[in-house]
C-alpha cells in the first residue's frame, strides 16, 4: 500500500467517523441550542440568534422544578451508596471465598436482571401502596437498588477477581486482619473499577423512568417524571421543554465527560477494560 493511498484512506475514515459523531450528537446539540432561544425563535430553524436565558429562568421560576431535581439527586446518591454497600461484601465473599456453588449463585443473580420489570411491577405496586412507600423517595431508592443490585455485584465481583490473590495472602501473613485487608488493599486496588460501578449506578438511577413513572406522581417524582409529564400538555413550549431537558441531562453529560474511561467501562458493564 502506498503512503499516499494509506493517507487518503486514513483521511476518509477520520472524516466518516467525525461526521457520524456529529450526526449522533445532533439531537443533543439541538436541544442545547433550542434551550437558549425564545419560544418564537424555537420555531425558526436558524442557528444564528441572540441567546437568552429566558427559558431557564422560567423553568426555575416553577418552584416544583427544584423539588424534582432534588428528588433525582437524593434518589441517585441513595441508590448508589446503598447498592455499593450491599454489593461489595457480597462480591468480596464470592471472589475470595468461592464455594462450589458460587458460579451458579452469580448466574441466578444475573438472571433476575434479565427478567423484565413489568413482571414484578404489579406486586411491587400493591406492596408499596399498602406499606405507604408509594410516591416516597425511600420507596424509589429501595426499588432501584433491588433492580440494580445484580449488576453492582457482578461488576464488583469482576473487579475483585482481577486483584492478585498473592498480595492479599502476603498481607495476611504479615498479620493484617480482614478489615485491614479490605480497607488498605482490596478497596484501593479495585477503586477504578468500583468507580465505574458507582458511575453506572448513578446513571441508571438518574435515568430510570419505568419505575419512577409507575411508582411516583408528585411528592417523590424525579426529573424523568417531570419531563415525561411536561412534554404532553405543554409540549408546544419547545424552548422551555428543551431548557428543562438540558438541565436534566447536564449532570450526567458533565460527569461522563470528566470520567470518560469510567463511563465507557460502566456502561458496558465492565466488558471494556
Amino acid at each position: 500500500m502506498s503512503v499516499a493511498h494509506s493517507r487518503l484512506r486514513y483521511g476518509i475514515t477520520t472524516a466518516v467517523a467525525w461526521s457520524l459523531a456529529i450526526l449522533v450528537f445532533f439531537p443533543i446539540f439541538w436541544m442545547m441550542i433550542t434551550s437558549f432561544k425564545t419560544e418564537e425563535q424555537a420555531y425558526q430553524l436558524s442557528v444564528i440568534f441572540q441567546p437568552t436565558l429566558q427559558s431557564f429562568r422560567e423553568v426555575f421560576a416553577r418552584s416544583d422544578y427544584l423539588s424534582f431535581a432534588g428528588n433525582s439527586i437524593a434518589i441517585s446518591l441513595g441508590v448508589t451508596l446503598l447498592s455499593l454497600l450491599l454489593a461489595i461484601p457480597a462480591a468480596y465473599s464470592m471472589a475470595f471465598f468461592p464455594g462450589p456453588r458460587t458460579q451458579k449463585i452469580l448466574l441466578w443473580m444475573m438472571s433476575t436482571k434479565m427478567m423484565p420489570s413489568v413482571g414484578v411491577l404489579l406486586p411491587v405496586y400493591l406492596l408499596w401502596k399498602n406499606s405507604g412507600l408509594l410516591d416516597t423517595v425511600s420507596g424509589l431508592i429501595i426499588i432501584y437498588t433491588l433492580i440494580n443490585l445484580p449488576i453492582a455485584v457482578w461488576m464488583a465481583f469482576t473487579y475483585f477477581c482481577e486483584v492478585p490473590k498473592e498480595i492479599l495472602e502476603a498481607a495476611r501473613i504479615d498479620g493484617a486482619n480482614t478489615w485491614q485487608e479490605i480497607f488498605h488493599l482490596l478497596l484501593p486496588m479495585s477503586l477504578p473499577g468500583l468507580a465505574s460501578t458507582g458511575l453506572l449506578l448513578l446513571i441508571l438511577s438518574w435515568n430510570e423512568a419505568f419505575w419512577s413513572i409507575n411508582l411516583s406522581s408528585s411528592h417523590a417524582a424525579p426529573l424523568t417524571v417531570f419531563i415525561a409529564s411536561y412534554s404532553s400538555p405543554e409540549g408546544l413550549f419547545w424552548a422551555k421543554l428543551s431548557a428543562a431537558s438540558l438541565l436534566a441531562v447536564a449532570p450526567i453529560m458533565v460527569l461522563g465527560w470528566l470520567a470518560q474511561k469510567q463511563l465507557v467501562r460502566g456502561l458496558t458493564f465492565g466488558a471494556v477494560k
Binding site: Y10, T13, T14, W18, L20, A21, V24, P27, I28, W30, M31, T34, Y43, L45, A87, P89, A90, Y92, S93, M94, F96, F97, I105, W108, M109, T112, M114, M115, P116, V118, G119, V120, L121, L122, P123, P150, T178, W206, N207, A209, F210, T224, A228, S231, G235, W238, S242, S245, A248, V249, I252, M253, G256, Q260, L263, V264, L267, T268, A271, V272
Partner: protein, 300 residues
C-alpha cells in the same frame, strides 16, 4: 474470659461464616424479590382482579380476554417489527462504528464517548429533541421543505402505519454506541499476529475483517444479541417518550399495553396476564441463546 484458644476458634468461625453471612442478604433480596414477585404476578393473572387485587382462582379467563384483545395483538406485532429491525440495525451500525474506530483514528477516546452518550442519557429526556425533529410541522420535514423541496414529506411520527419505525430509529440511535463499545473491546482482544500473517499472505483489509476478525467476535455477538433482545422486549421509555403508543394505539408495545391496562384502566388481572406473556417470551428467547452460548463455550 477469653483465652487465646477460644479467640482463635471464634475468628475461625467468623472466617467460615462471615462470607456466607455477607452474601446472603443480597442473594436473598434479589431472588425472593424477583422470583417471588413473578409468582405473585402469575397468581394475579389467574384471578379476576380489576381495580383491586382479588385472590380467588378464576382459571385462564384473563389469558382468554388477552388473546381476544386486538390491542394486544397490535402490541405484539409492533414488538416483532421493532425487535427485529432494532436488533438488526443496531448490530450493523454498532459493528460498523467499531470497525471504523479500530482504524487507529486520532481522538478515538473522544469519538467513543460521543457515540456512547445517547446510552448514558435518559431517553425520556432526549426524546423531546427527537419528537421535535420528527414533528412534520417543525423538524426535518420543514427544514427540507424550506430548502426548496416543498413536496418532501416525513411524517412517520403521526402516521399510524409508520409510527413504530420512528421508535426503531430512536432505539438504534440510543444503543449503537453501546454495541460499538462491546465490539471494539472484542476487536482489541484479537491476536495481532494472526492479522499480520494474513496481511503477509496478501489478504485485503475487507477480506481480513470478513473472514478472520468478524468470525472471531462470535462470543461478543452472543452477548450483544442477549442484551439487545432484552432491551427490545422491555422497551418502555422509548415508546413512552416518543409516541406514547400513538397515534391511537398504533405504536403500542406490550410494556405500554400492560401499563395502560393495569394502571389507567383498572384491569390488574389482564395486566398481569400480559406481563406473564412477556416473561415467557423473554424466557423463550433467552434460554436457547444462553444454552447455545454455554455449549459453544464448552466446545471451545
Amino acid at each position: 474470659m477469653s483465652t487465646p484458644q477460644s479467640q482463635a476458634s471464634l475468628s475461625a468461625l467468623a472466617d467460615r461464616w462471615l462470607p456466607k453471612l455477607v452474601l446472603s442478604p443480597t442473594l436473598l433480596i434479589s431472588l425472593v424479590f424477583v422470583y417471588g414477585f413473578i409468582a405473585w404476578t402469575g397468581w394475579l393473572s389467574l384471578t379476576e382482579s380489576r381495580l383491586l387485587p382479588q385472590m380467588d382462582f378464576a382459571g385462564l379467563v384473563q389469558y382468554q380476554a388477552l388473546f381476544e384483545n386486538d390491542r394486544w395483538w397490535t402490541a405484539v406485532a409492533n414488538l416483532g417489527i421493532f425487535g427485529g429491525l432494532f436488533i438488526g440495525c443496531t448490530l450493523a451500525v454498532g459493528l460498523f462504528l467499531a470497525v471504523l474506530l479500530d482504524q487507529k483514528i486520532r481522538a478515538e477516546g473522544t469519538l467513543r464517548t460521543i457515540y456512547l452518550y445517547p446510552m448514558a442519557l435518559s431517553f425520556i429526556v432526549t426524546g423531546t429533541a427527537w419528537k421535535w425533529m420528527l414533528n412534520p410541522d417543525m423538524g426535518l420535514q420543514k427544514v427540507i421543505n424550506d430548502w426548496g423541496f416543498p413536496d418532501f414529506t416525513f411524517d412517520w411520527l403521526v402516521d399510524p402505519d409508520k409510527a413504530i419505525y420512528t421508535v426503531v430509529i430512536a432505539g438504534v440511535w440510543q444503543s449503537s454506541g453501546f454495541v460499538m463499545a462491546l465490539f471494539l473491546a472484542g476487536l482489541r482482544g484479537i491476536d495481532d499476529s494472526i492479522i499480520k500473517a494474513a496481511q503477509v499472505d496478501g489478504a485485503s483489509l475487507p477480506v481480513i475483517y470478513w473472514r478472520i476478525i468478524i468470525p472471531s467476535l462470535r462470543p461478543v455477538f452472543f452477548s450483544v444479541l442477549l442484551i439487545l433482545s432484552h432491551i427490545a422486549i422491555k422497551s418502555f421509555d422509548l415508546v413512552m417518550a416518543l409516541t406514547g403508543g400513538g397515534p391511537g394505539t398504533a405504536s403500542d408495545v406490550p410494556a405500554i399495553f400492560m401499563y395502560q391496562f393495569a394502571f389507567t384502566r383498572g384491569q390488574l388481572g389482564l395486566g398481569a396476564a400480559s406481563a406473564m406473556m412477556m416473561l415467557m417470551t423473554i424466557v423463550a428467547v433467552l434460554v436457547p441463546l444462553m444454552y447455545m452460548e454455554t455449549r459453544s463455550a464448552k466446545r471451545g
